[in-house]
Subunit: 139 residues, 3 copies
Protein backbone atom coordinates (compact mmCIF):
# COMPACT_ATOMS: atom_id res chain seq x y z
CA UNK A 1 0.00 0.00 0.00
CA UNK A 2 0.67 3.46 -0.41
CA UNK A 3 -1.64 5.03 2.14
CA UNK A 4 -3.34 8.06 0.60
CA UNK A 5 -4.83 10.88 2.66
CA UNK A 6 -7.05 13.28 0.74
CA UNK A 7 -8.02 16.54 2.45
CA UNK A 8 -10.67 18.47 0.60
CA UNK A 9 -13.30 21.10 1.01
CA UNK A 10 -16.41 20.13 2.94
CA UNK A 11 -19.64 19.71 1.07
CA UNK A 12 -18.47 17.95 -2.07
CA UNK A 13 -20.66 15.14 -3.38
CA UNK A 14 -19.85 11.50 -2.93
CA UNK A 15 -19.27 11.24 -6.68
CA UNK A 16 -16.76 14.11 -6.55
CA UNK A 17 -14.87 12.62 -3.63
CA UNK A 18 -14.72 9.21 -5.20
CA UNK A 19 -13.55 10.64 -8.50
CA UNK A 20 -10.67 12.27 -6.66
CA UNK A 21 -9.79 8.93 -5.11
CA UNK A 22 -10.10 7.18 -8.46
CA UNK A 23 -7.88 9.67 -10.27
CA UNK A 24 -5.13 9.41 -7.71
CA UNK A 25 -5.34 5.64 -7.61
CA UNK A 26 -5.19 5.26 -11.37
CA UNK A 27 -2.10 7.47 -11.47
CA UNK A 28 -0.48 5.34 -8.78
CA UNK A 29 -1.23 2.18 -10.74
CA UNK A 30 -0.41 3.47 -14.22
CA UNK A 31 2.69 5.53 -13.41
CA UNK A 32 4.10 4.43 -10.07
CA UNK A 33 3.30 0.83 -10.89
CA UNK A 34 1.51 -0.36 -7.79
CA UNK A 35 -0.85 -3.35 -8.08
CA UNK A 36 -4.43 -2.36 -8.99
CA UNK A 37 -5.77 -3.83 -5.76
CA UNK A 38 -3.31 -1.89 -3.64
CA UNK A 39 -5.81 0.82 -2.80
CA UNK A 40 -6.05 2.39 0.65
CA UNK A 41 -7.44 5.92 0.85
CA UNK A 42 -8.80 8.09 3.62
CA UNK A 43 -10.73 11.22 2.74
CA UNK A 44 -11.14 14.06 5.23
CA UNK A 45 -13.42 17.02 4.67
CA UNK A 46 -12.48 20.40 6.12
CA UNK A 47 -14.35 23.67 6.24
CA UNK A 48 -12.76 26.71 4.65
CA UNK A 49 -11.74 28.10 8.04
CA UNK A 50 -9.62 25.02 8.62
CA UNK A 51 -7.76 25.02 5.32
CA UNK A 52 -5.34 27.93 5.27
CA UNK A 53 -3.11 28.33 2.25
CA UNK A 54 -1.52 30.91 0.03
CA UNK A 55 -3.33 31.73 -3.23
CA UNK A 56 -0.33 32.22 -5.52
CA UNK A 57 2.87 30.87 -3.95
CA UNK A 58 5.27 29.64 -6.66
CA UNK A 59 3.02 31.16 -9.32
CA UNK A 60 0.22 28.68 -8.81
CA UNK A 61 -3.20 30.38 -8.76
CA UNK A 62 -5.10 28.35 -6.18
CA UNK A 63 -8.85 28.50 -5.65
CA UNK A 64 -11.02 27.58 -2.69
CA UNK A 65 -11.19 24.03 -4.02
CA UNK A 66 -7.54 23.14 -3.48
CA UNK A 67 -7.11 19.47 -2.60
CA UNK A 68 -4.22 18.25 -0.47
CA UNK A 69 -2.97 14.75 -1.16
CA UNK A 70 -0.55 13.12 1.28
CA UNK A 71 0.87 9.76 0.32
CA UNK A 72 2.98 7.41 2.42
CA UNK A 73 4.87 4.96 0.25
CA UNK A 74 7.95 2.76 0.18
CA UNK A 75 11.29 4.39 -0.51
CA UNK A 76 12.88 4.09 -3.92
CA UNK A 77 11.01 5.76 -6.73
CA UNK A 78 13.26 8.16 -8.68
CA UNK A 79 12.42 11.83 -9.06
CA UNK A 80 11.44 11.45 -12.72
CA UNK A 81 8.82 8.87 -11.81
CA UNK A 82 7.39 11.11 -9.11
CA UNK A 83 7.21 13.99 -11.58
CA UNK A 84 5.38 11.83 -14.09
CA UNK A 85 3.00 10.81 -11.31
CA UNK A 86 2.20 14.42 -10.40
CA UNK A 87 1.44 15.19 -14.03
CA UNK A 88 -0.87 12.22 -14.33
CA UNK A 89 -2.75 13.04 -11.15
CA UNK A 90 -3.63 16.53 -12.34
CA UNK A 91 -4.61 15.20 -15.78
CA UNK A 92 -6.88 12.63 -14.19
CA UNK A 93 -8.49 15.06 -11.77
CA UNK A 94 -8.99 17.65 -14.51
CA UNK A 95 -10.89 15.04 -16.52
CA UNK A 96 -12.96 13.90 -13.54
CA UNK A 97 -14.24 15.49 -11.31
CA UNK A 98 -12.97 18.59 -13.12
CA UNK A 99 -10.41 20.02 -10.71
CA UNK A 100 -8.08 22.76 -11.92
CA UNK A 101 -4.44 21.60 -12.10
CA UNK A 102 -3.51 24.52 -9.87
CA UNK A 103 -5.71 23.10 -7.14
CA UNK A 104 -3.88 19.84 -6.58
CA UNK A 105 -1.08 19.79 -4.02
CA UNK A 106 0.76 16.53 -3.37
CA UNK A 107 3.24 15.53 -0.66
CA UNK A 108 5.01 12.20 -0.45
CA UNK A 109 6.58 10.59 2.62
CA UNK A 110 8.73 7.54 2.16
CA UNK A 111 9.35 4.67 4.54
CA UNK A 112 10.72 1.12 4.50
CA UNK A 113 9.41 -2.34 3.73
CA UNK A 114 9.32 -3.21 7.43
CA UNK A 115 7.04 -0.25 8.10
CA UNK A 116 3.88 -1.80 6.63
CA UNK A 117 1.37 -4.26 7.96
CA UNK A 118 -1.65 -4.84 5.70
CA UNK A 119 -3.49 -6.93 8.25
CA UNK A 120 -3.22 -10.21 10.17
CA UNK A 121 -0.27 -8.80 12.11
CA UNK A 122 2.12 -9.57 9.27
CA UNK A 123 4.76 -7.40 7.62
CA UNK A 124 3.81 -8.45 4.12
CA UNK A 125 6.40 -6.35 2.28
CA UNK A 126 9.22 -8.28 3.94
CA UNK A 127 8.05 -11.45 2.21
CA UNK A 128 9.07 -12.91 -1.12
CA UNK A 129 5.77 -11.86 -2.68
CA UNK A 130 6.21 -8.16 -2.08
CA UNK A 131 5.51 -6.22 -5.27
CA UNK A 132 8.63 -4.74 -6.88
CA UNK A 133 9.33 -1.00 -6.92
CA UNK A 134 9.26 0.51 -10.39
CA UNK A 135 12.25 2.73 -11.07
CA UNK A 136 11.77 3.68 -14.75
CA UNK A 137 9.14 6.04 -16.12
CA UNK A 138 6.68 4.03 -18.22
CA UNK A 139 6.71 4.80 -21.93
CA UNK B 1 6.39 9.93 21.90
CA UNK B 2 5.36 7.97 19.14
CA UNK B 3 2.41 9.90 17.81
CA UNK B 4 -0.39 7.51 16.92
CA UNK B 5 -3.18 8.35 14.48
CA UNK B 6 -6.10 5.98 14.49
CA UNK B 7 -8.62 6.25 11.64
CA UNK B 8 -11.73 4.19 12.17
CA UNK B 9 -15.33 3.84 11.15
CA UNK B 10 -17.74 6.46 12.42
CA UNK B 11 -20.24 5.47 15.03
CA UNK B 12 -18.16 3.26 17.29
CA UNK B 13 -18.67 3.63 21.03
CA UNK B 14 -16.28 5.49 23.27
CA UNK B 15 -15.37 2.15 24.89
CA UNK B 16 -14.52 0.65 21.51
CA UNK B 17 -12.37 3.59 20.49
CA UNK B 18 -10.52 3.63 23.76
CA UNK B 19 -9.94 -0.11 23.63
CA UNK B 20 -8.30 0.38 20.24
CA UNK B 21 -6.07 3.05 21.74
CA UNK B 22 -5.28 0.86 24.73
CA UNK B 23 -4.37 -2.16 22.64
CA UNK B 24 -2.02 -0.20 20.44
CA UNK B 25 -0.43 1.55 23.40
CA UNK B 26 0.16 -1.65 25.32
CA UNK B 27 1.84 -3.20 22.27
CA UNK B 28 4.08 -0.13 21.98
CA UNK B 29 5.04 -0.39 25.64
CA UNK B 30 5.39 -4.16 25.85
CA UNK B 31 7.08 -4.83 22.51
CA UNK B 32 8.61 -1.60 21.22
CA UNK B 33 9.66 -0.67 24.74
CA UNK B 34 8.43 2.90 25.04
CA UNK B 35 7.77 4.29 28.54
CA UNK B 36 4.22 3.61 29.79
CA UNK B 37 3.50 7.33 30.08
CA UNK B 38 4.60 8.01 26.51
CA UNK B 39 1.05 7.97 25.15
CA UNK B 40 -0.13 10.39 22.49
CA UNK B 41 -3.03 9.28 20.30
CA UNK B 42 -5.43 11.03 17.98
CA UNK B 43 -8.54 9.20 16.83
CA UNK B 44 -10.40 10.27 13.69
CA UNK B 45 -13.76 8.85 12.69
CA UNK B 46 -14.63 8.56 9.01
CA UNK B 47 -17.82 7.54 7.27
CA UNK B 48 -17.73 4.58 4.93
CA UNK B 49 -17.71 6.84 1.89
CA UNK B 50 -14.44 8.35 3.05
CA UNK B 51 -12.56 5.12 3.71
CA UNK B 52 -11.79 3.45 0.40
CA UNK B 53 -9.81 0.23 0.45
CA UNK B 54 -9.48 -3.09 -1.26
CA UNK B 55 -11.20 -6.06 0.37
CA UNK B 56 -8.65 -8.77 -0.32
CA UNK B 57 -5.30 -7.31 -1.41
CA UNK B 58 -2.41 -9.56 -0.31
CA UNK B 59 -4.92 -12.24 0.72
CA UNK B 60 -6.26 -10.28 3.67
CA UNK B 61 -10.07 -10.43 3.86
CA UNK B 62 -10.98 -6.96 5.12
CA UNK B 63 -14.40 -5.98 6.46
CA UNK B 64 -16.08 -2.60 6.81
CA UNK B 65 -14.46 -2.22 10.22
CA UNK B 66 -10.88 -1.94 9.01
CA UNK B 67 -8.85 0.35 11.26
CA UNK B 68 -5.88 2.32 9.94
CA UNK B 69 -3.09 3.00 12.40
CA UNK B 70 -0.36 5.50 11.46
CA UNK B 71 2.53 5.86 13.85
CA UNK B 72 5.34 8.41 13.78
CA UNK B 73 8.32 7.24 15.81
CA UNK B 74 12.06 7.62 16.17
CA UNK B 75 14.28 5.78 13.73
CA UNK B 76 16.07 2.65 14.78
CA UNK B 77 13.84 -0.29 15.60
CA UNK B 78 14.83 -3.40 13.61
CA UNK B 79 12.40 -5.18 11.32
CA UNK B 80 11.97 -8.12 13.71
CA UNK B 81 10.82 -5.79 16.46
CA UNK B 82 8.30 -4.14 14.16
CA UNK B 83 6.98 -7.54 13.12
CA UNK B 84 6.56 -8.57 16.76
CA UNK B 85 4.75 -5.28 17.35
CA UNK B 86 2.27 -5.89 14.52
CA UNK B 87 1.49 -9.34 15.89
CA UNK B 88 0.90 -7.96 19.36
CA UNK B 89 -1.37 -5.19 18.13
CA UNK B 90 -3.70 -7.60 16.36
CA UNK B 91 -3.70 -9.94 19.37
CA UNK B 92 -4.60 -7.07 21.67
CA UNK B 93 -7.33 -5.70 19.43
CA UNK B 94 -8.80 -9.17 18.88
CA UNK B 95 -9.10 -9.54 22.66
CA UNK B 96 -10.61 -6.08 23.11
CA UNK B 97 -12.64 -4.58 21.46
CA UNK B 98 -12.84 -7.71 19.32
CA UNK B 99 -11.43 -6.59 15.98
CA UNK B 100 -10.59 -9.19 13.36
CA UNK B 101 -6.81 -9.43 12.72
CA UNK B 102 -7.52 -8.86 9.04
CA UNK B 103 -9.00 -5.48 9.88
CA UNK B 104 -5.89 -3.86 11.34
CA UNK B 105 -3.58 -1.99 8.95
CA UNK B 106 -0.48 -0.31 10.36
CA UNK B 107 1.96 2.14 8.79
CA UNK B 108 5.09 3.49 10.47
CA UNK B 109 7.00 6.66 9.62
CA UNK B 110 10.37 7.22 11.23
CA UNK B 111 12.09 10.47 12.09
CA UNK B 112 14.95 11.75 14.25
CA UNK B 113 15.47 12.75 17.86
CA UNK B 114 15.54 16.43 16.88
CA UNK B 115 12.10 16.11 15.32
CA UNK B 116 10.15 15.97 18.57
CA UNK B 117 9.00 18.61 21.01
CA UNK B 118 6.76 17.32 23.81
CA UNK B 119 5.93 20.76 25.12
CA UNK B 120 7.59 23.83 26.66
CA UNK B 121 9.38 24.50 23.39
CA UNK B 122 12.06 21.94 24.19
CA UNK B 123 13.49 19.11 22.08
CA UNK B 124 13.39 16.60 24.89
CA UNK B 125 14.80 13.67 22.93
CA UNK B 126 18.07 15.51 22.41
CA UNK B 127 18.65 15.53 26.17
CA UNK B 128 20.48 13.04 28.33
CA UNK B 129 17.20 11.71 29.71
CA UNK B 130 15.80 10.59 26.38
CA UNK B 131 14.51 7.03 26.63
CA UNK B 132 16.69 4.47 24.82
CA UNK B 133 15.54 2.72 21.64
CA UNK B 134 15.02 -1.00 22.08
CA UNK B 135 16.65 -3.04 19.34
CA UNK B 136 16.05 -6.64 20.47
CA UNK B 137 12.72 -8.45 20.42
CA UNK B 138 11.65 -9.09 24.04
CA UNK B 139 11.57 -12.74 25.10
CA UNK C 1 5.78 24.14 1.52
CA UNK C 2 6.00 22.68 4.75
CA UNK C 3 2.58 21.12 5.16
CA UNK C 4 1.30 21.80 8.67
CA UNK C 5 -1.38 19.70 10.37
CA UNK C 6 -2.85 21.19 13.51
CA UNK C 7 -4.98 18.93 15.70
CA UNK C 8 -6.80 20.77 18.45
CA UNK C 9 -9.73 20.57 20.80
CA UNK C 10 -13.17 20.96 19.26
CA UNK C 11 -15.11 24.10 19.97
CA UNK C 12 -12.39 26.73 19.75
CA UNK C 13 -13.29 29.99 18.00
CA UNK C 14 -12.21 30.80 14.49
CA UNK C 15 -9.97 33.54 15.93
CA UNK C 16 -8.27 31.03 18.24
CA UNK C 17 -7.70 28.54 15.45
CA UNK C 18 -6.31 31.14 13.11
CA UNK C 19 -4.02 32.53 15.80
CA UNK C 20 -2.57 29.05 16.22
CA UNK C 21 -1.98 28.88 12.49
CA UNK C 22 -0.46 32.36 12.46
CA UNK C 23 1.91 31.65 15.33
CA UNK C 24 3.22 28.48 13.75
CA UNK C 25 3.59 30.11 10.37
CA UNK C 26 5.47 33.12 11.70
CA UNK C 27 7.89 30.81 13.52
CA UNK C 28 8.44 28.88 10.28
CA UNK C 29 9.15 32.09 8.40
CA UNK C 30 11.23 33.85 11.06
CA UNK C 31 13.26 30.89 12.32
CA UNK C 32 13.19 28.12 9.73
CA UNK C 33 13.41 30.68 6.96
CA UNK C 34 10.64 29.62 4.62
CA UNK C 35 9.16 32.23 2.26
CA UNK C 36 6.26 34.19 3.81
CA UNK C 37 3.88 32.95 1.13
CA UNK C 38 4.79 29.33 1.73
CA UNK C 39 1.79 28.70 3.96
CA UNK C 40 -0.21 25.48 3.81
CA UNK C 41 -2.10 24.46 6.95
CA UNK C 42 -4.86 22.02 7.73
CA UNK C 43 -6.67 22.27 11.04
CA UNK C 44 -8.58 19.32 12.47
CA UNK C 45 -10.81 19.54 15.52
CA UNK C 46 -11.16 16.53 17.79
CA UNK C 47 -13.37 15.93 20.80
CA UNK C 48 -11.73 15.10 24.10
CA UNK C 49 -12.58 11.42 23.73
CA UNK C 50 -10.48 11.30 20.57
CA UNK C 51 -7.36 12.97 21.93
CA UNK C 52 -5.66 10.63 24.38
CA UNK C 53 -2.41 11.73 25.94
CA UNK C 54 -0.44 11.60 29.13
CA UNK C 55 -0.69 14.59 31.45
CA UNK C 56 2.88 14.75 32.73
CA UNK C 57 5.22 12.62 30.59
CA UNK C 58 8.74 14.12 30.53
CA UNK C 59 7.70 16.58 33.26
CA UNK C 60 5.40 18.56 31.00
CA UNK C 61 2.11 19.39 32.74
CA UNK C 62 -0.40 19.16 29.92
CA UNK C 63 -3.98 20.45 30.07
CA UNK C 64 -7.08 19.59 28.06
CA UNK C 65 -6.06 22.21 25.51
CA UNK C 66 -2.95 20.45 24.22
CA UNK C 67 -2.39 21.15 20.54
CA UNK C 68 -0.61 18.68 18.28
CA UNK C 69 1.36 20.12 15.38
CA UNK C 70 2.65 17.79 12.67
CA UNK C 71 4.85 19.31 10.00
CA UNK C 72 6.15 17.71 6.82
CA UNK C 73 9.17 19.56 5.49
CA UNK C 74 12.27 19.11 3.36
CA UNK C 75 15.25 17.38 4.88
CA UNK C 76 18.23 19.41 6.02
CA UNK C 77 17.57 21.73 8.93
CA UNK C 78 20.05 21.14 11.77
CA UNK C 79 18.90 20.25 15.27
CA UNK C 80 19.74 23.70 16.65
CA UNK C 81 17.43 25.34 14.13
CA UNK C 82 14.60 22.97 15.01
CA UNK C 83 15.10 23.72 18.70
CA UNK C 84 14.95 27.44 18.04
CA UNK C 85 11.78 26.86 16.05
CA UNK C 86 10.08 24.98 18.90
CA UNK C 87 10.92 27.80 21.30
CA UNK C 88 9.51 30.39 18.94
CA UNK C 89 6.28 28.48 18.37
CA UNK C 90 5.49 28.31 22.07
CA UNK C 91 6.38 31.98 22.51
CA UNK C 92 4.08 32.94 19.67
CA UNK C 93 1.19 30.79 20.84
CA UNK C 94 1.57 32.02 24.43
CA UNK C 95 1.21 35.58 23.15
CA UNK C 96 -1.76 34.73 20.94
CA UNK C 97 -4.15 32.94 21.45
CA UNK C 98 -2.70 32.42 24.92
CA UNK C 99 -1.75 28.74 24.92
CA UNK C 100 0.41 27.39 27.74
CA UNK C 101 3.89 26.33 26.51
CA UNK C 102 3.25 22.92 28.06
CA UNK C 103 0.31 22.46 25.71
CA UNK C 104 2.17 22.56 22.41
CA UNK C 105 3.51 19.28 21.03
CA UNK C 106 5.34 19.32 17.69
CA UNK C 107 6.47 16.50 15.42
CA UNK C 108 8.47 16.92 12.23
CA UNK C 109 8.72 14.51 9.31
CA UNK C 110 11.31 15.17 6.65
CA UNK C 111 11.25 14.27 2.99
CA UNK C 112 13.01 15.18 -0.25
CA UNK C 113 12.75 17.88 -2.89
CA UNK C 114 11.15 15.44 -5.32
CA UNK C 115 8.37 14.71 -2.84
CA UNK C 116 6.49 17.98 -3.33
CA UNK C 117 4.07 19.20 -5.96
CA UNK C 118 2.53 22.59 -5.22
CA UNK C 119 0.09 22.41 -8.10
CA UNK C 120 -0.02 22.21 -11.92
CA UNK C 121 1.49 18.72 -11.74
CA UNK C 122 4.99 20.12 -11.33
CA UNK C 123 7.71 19.22 -8.83
CA UNK C 124 8.61 22.82 -8.11
CA UNK C 125 11.36 22.13 -5.59
CA UNK C 126 13.42 20.35 -8.26
CA UNK C 127 13.65 23.59 -10.21
CA UNK C 128 16.28 26.30 -10.08
CA UNK C 129 13.91 28.60 -8.23
CA UNK C 130 13.45 26.34 -5.21
CA UNK C 131 13.96 28.31 -2.00
CA UNK C 132 17.20 27.45 -0.19
CA UNK C 133 17.24 25.56 3.11
CA UNK C 134 18.50 27.63 6.02
CA UNK C 135 21.08 25.80 8.09
CA UNK C 136 22.16 28.45 10.64
CA UNK C 137 20.07 29.71 13.53
CA UNK C 138 19.17 33.37 12.87
CA UNK C 139 20.73 35.88 15.28
Amino acid sequence: MPLVRISLRSGKSRAYRHAVGDGIHHALVDVIGIPPKDRFQIIAEHGDENRIYDRDYLDVARSDDTVFVEISLRRGRPAALKQAFYRRVVENLAADPGIRPEDVAIVLTENSDADWSFGKGEAQLLGADAPPIRTAVPA
